[in-house]
Symmetry: C2
Subunit: 531 residues, 2 copies
């Protein structure tokens, strides 16, 4: 019973049991490529052979800088099969950050989309020995992916790999300091894959067609590519720069049954599908993660578009899935209870443990009221960073998530804030998340963000930025009156600024760090709003 | 990410997330006890404390000789929590075999039902230091289970356990030689539990109420108790000697959604439910394992009783589950294809690998025709026996299952015979299983068994024994005419004997070994039938 747990087993499984299932590659809402797991398997073996020919040895890092497409999916398995570590690089990072990350990971090869090569210039200058492969063609100093596959013998004698060896690596952008690398062992990804396929979890199965909206550079695309391989689900990849209209069309055309995304993308998709009348009813599950969705979004998706919504909480350090918000069986015929449960981030996946730790290091009760920082541990939770010491991120082997949460008596997690997004005013905490949710509940508000601004007397005070809903006019005075009925008086923002858009992080969340900088830099001083 | 995989984690999970779910204990078709996972957890901790007080140390073996009841379920978790090994002993074995097994395993304690104490006399004489605990009361030299729990402090500081440490142990009765012990590590049971809860596998979930018909002394009751704990399914235990009428009533009363059993028990259940008009329609899955069911059984269950039927293949050495017969998605609306697939033993569970090896050690094609011995390996497949060398059972780390099978192009396994049940006549193989299936297809036949008898000229020849269907008359001459149209002429049994019943093994399968002995001993010489 000592067989190692290797994520590459799922490649062999897909070849043996699901040879005819399809991988479909879109580009701008049109099919660009369509092939089977049989072909996929054969190409992965040749790609792994090509990596060996390029000199890749067990333990080496191979970076990718690519959108969601079938070649990226081939790299997901070919790199670990070659015994190497798949290092997916966030394509929205600044060239300097990319150069830092590639240097820190000491990548031997980077496989990149041609359209993204410019972002690699600094990294290439820093690392002249690093080989560059273009997923969609050759160029100066750039090898051609297809030519490599064409020329390589299939890797039929993969190097021996231990289950604790790294299969993948991903850097978190973080909010302070340098990006931190999270290494994923074969074992961690293997167990995470089983968890993704549990009947009570995401329940990825052979009957699914999954659409990868989550970027493949982001925490293994939530691990869904591995889950699809293991279970024989069809996979659909939207290609570069998928627009909301493309996503809606793909879901309808391919009869997609499962997809996951951040709420901001879901808002765009919902608006698009509503406006164009695109049916999304093939979806058995739309899973929202990354940040809590508004009540409106969940209601619109479920009631108007007939799309069952779930939430998950996770983070790069958790491979990334930690919870899933499947409602209690007793809520099946109780719409209110069901909605209340899916509006939370859900219960912990089997295999993981958690704690809720208060200010003084004491464990808090799971009563749905007491708040604390969420700590987690388990076989797919990081207990260290790649080549860096970050003792502040761990406590006795537990990962400190930085999320402030409650856990209710049924075991449902609710993230109430990021530790660093809490606003400390006059010695008391103000929840920026609660303020944002109250603002978004106003019909004229599309999106909202609340950040702290330094204050001489109170230490910090809240500053709110809102984007109006389409065709709506958001008046700061109205919003303030609205908030007055919903939050403690001392929580009322000192200023509400109405803006056209909010800055996004590279994974599509609202970029609080950038916002804080912009606010501090006086960027919004001229914007109309309450002063 | 180095957290160990411990099956005791599921106990903590059940307490945290499913404290109110129920465990229900029946006796003779009536509720005998009903309590929650919260109470279960507390009693398990006290039981583990009691074991420590009795002197149980990490690695010690604790035997059980018990029916399916809540105290047995408590031992399932309390023994591993104490760091010890749960050794479930088959209560249908002869006292001499029980004494051998308890001696071989060197059990420190045995926990037994009072009604089964007689079977322990020889073992107790052999092992005077072995402590005996009665699940339902004290006696001479027998400690009382409830008194121990009452007196013991909860084990809140369980000993450290590594994932490769054994959590359980089970002996296979085997057909030759002494029983062999199969040890299950925490890791193996943990991974097997995840496999049991996959959406494409048994899919045990929080929405289930599972009924443990499979004896708890048999290969961890297929691992379903652990799966129920992990997922929060309610558990129902039928108690000692469950009659078919009891099982039918329990399913209807408790609205059981999932159960598994051997086909012979399912036949009785089906007849009982049909005769009494008991609705079994709460079942979302009735899983058959242990031996292939007849076509009639599957059809009657599905068409008349509206019970979805699945099959699994497994064995004690596979923890025990190896395959599951969920039909292909493409068969969902094709009743014929669906039926054909669930009549096979199904596809391999993720995490396992298999081979089909022919006579000369060559791998056979998976074409649904070529036959070979099934070899398996994986993280919950035995690669050795407990304290015994059996090199003949393993080939390069692969378990030799002794099952002769085909695998079709869709990946569905079909067991066509046990290696030792094949009949070699004139240098050619005759399949006893195929003959049995042809006989059972006759309306007058309830059950059939075919064994080899020694033959001077042909080496071996088939001998058939049939039990008539209820109220039917089975005439050997008719059966022979029936077979003549269905099997090769040289397969026709030399003799067909009509009998009232067939001997059973301790797990309810037809006991071919006993039958061969009886046939060779002339037991059926006086039985009417073709000579």
């Amino acid at each position: 019973m000592s067989t190692p747990l290797l994520v590459t087993d799922f490649l062999h499984r897909a070849r043996e049991f699901f040879p005819g299932r399809e991988i479909v590659q879109y580009r701008g809402g049109e099919t660009a490529h369509r092939y089977t797991y049989r072909d996929y398997h054969d190409r992965v073996l040749r790609l792994a052979g090509a990596l060996r020919e390029l000199g890749i040895r067990p333990g080496d890092r191979v970076a990718t800088l690519a959108w969601n497409h079938h070649r990226h999916l081939e790299l997901y398995l070919a790199v670990p099969l070659a015994g190497a570590v798949l290092h997916t690089v966030n394509l929205r990072l600044e060239p300097g950050e990319i150069a830092y990350i590639l240097g820190h990971a000491d990548d031997r090869v980077v496989v990149a989309d041609t359209s993204l090569l410019a972002a690699l210039e600094q990294a290439r200058a820093d690392r002249p020995d690093m080989l560059v492969v273009g997923t969609d063609g050759a160029g100066p100093g750039v090898l051609d992916y297809e030519a490599l596959i064409e020329a390589a013998p299939p890797l039929t004698d993969p190097p021996p790999v231990a289950e604790d060896d790294l299969a993948a690596l991903c850097y978190t952008s973080g909010t302070t300091g340098f990006p931190k690398g999270v290494g994923y062992s074969h074992r961690a990804l293997y167990l995470h894959t089983f968890a993704a396929c549990l009947a009570d979890g995401h329940a990825i199965s052979e009957r699914d067609t999954v659409l990868h909206v989550v970027p493949m550079f982001h925490a293994n695309a939530w691990g869904i590519p591995f889950a699809a391989l293991m279970s024989g689900a069809s996979q659909v990849l939207p290609g570069p720069h998928p627009a909301p209209a493309d996503l809606a069309r793909i879901i309808a055309t391919e009869r997609v049954t499962y997809t996951g995304m951040v709420p901001t993308v879901a808002v765009d998709l919902m608006r698009e599908a509503t406006a164009a009348g695109t049916g999304l009813d093939s979806l058995r599950a739309l899973v929202l993660g990354g940040s809590p969705p508004s009540e409106d979004l969940v209601r619109e998706l479920e009631e108007r578009l007939r799309v069952p919504v779930f939430q998950g909480w996770g983070m790069t350090e958790v491979s990334p899935m930690g919870t899933f918000s499947r409602p209690l069986p007793s809520s099946e015929h109780d719409a209110t209870a069901r909605r209340r449960q899916i509006r939370k981030q859900g219960r912990l996946l089997p295999g993981l443990r958690w704690r809720l730790v208060g200010d003084e290091g004491r464990d808090q009760p799971h009563d749905g009221v007491a708040r604390g920082e969420l700590l987690v541990r388990g076989p797919w939770v990081a207990s260290a960073y790649f080549r860096d010491e970050h003792p502040e991120c761990f406590t006795d082997g537990w990962l400190r998530t930085g999320d402030i949460a409650t856990i209710d008596p049924d075991g449902y997690l609710e993230i109430v804030d990021r530790a660093k997004d809490l606003i400390k005013s006059g010695g008391e905490w103000i929840s920026s998340l609660a303020l944002e949710q109250a603002l978004v509940a106003h019909p004229a508000v599309g999106e909202a963000a609340v950040v702290a601004v330094a204050h001489e007397r109170w230490q910090e005070r809240p500053f709110a930025l809102v984007v109006p809903a389409p065709d709506a006019v958001a008046e700061p005075a109205d919003l303030l009156a609205w908030l007055r009925e919903r939050v403690p008086r001392w929580w009322l923002p000192d200023r509400i600024a109405v803006v056209d858009a909010l800055p996004r992080t590279s994974v599509g969340k609202i970029d609080k760090r950038a916002l804080r900088d912009q606010v501090a830099g006086g960027l919004f001083d001229e914007v109309r709003g309450r002063t």
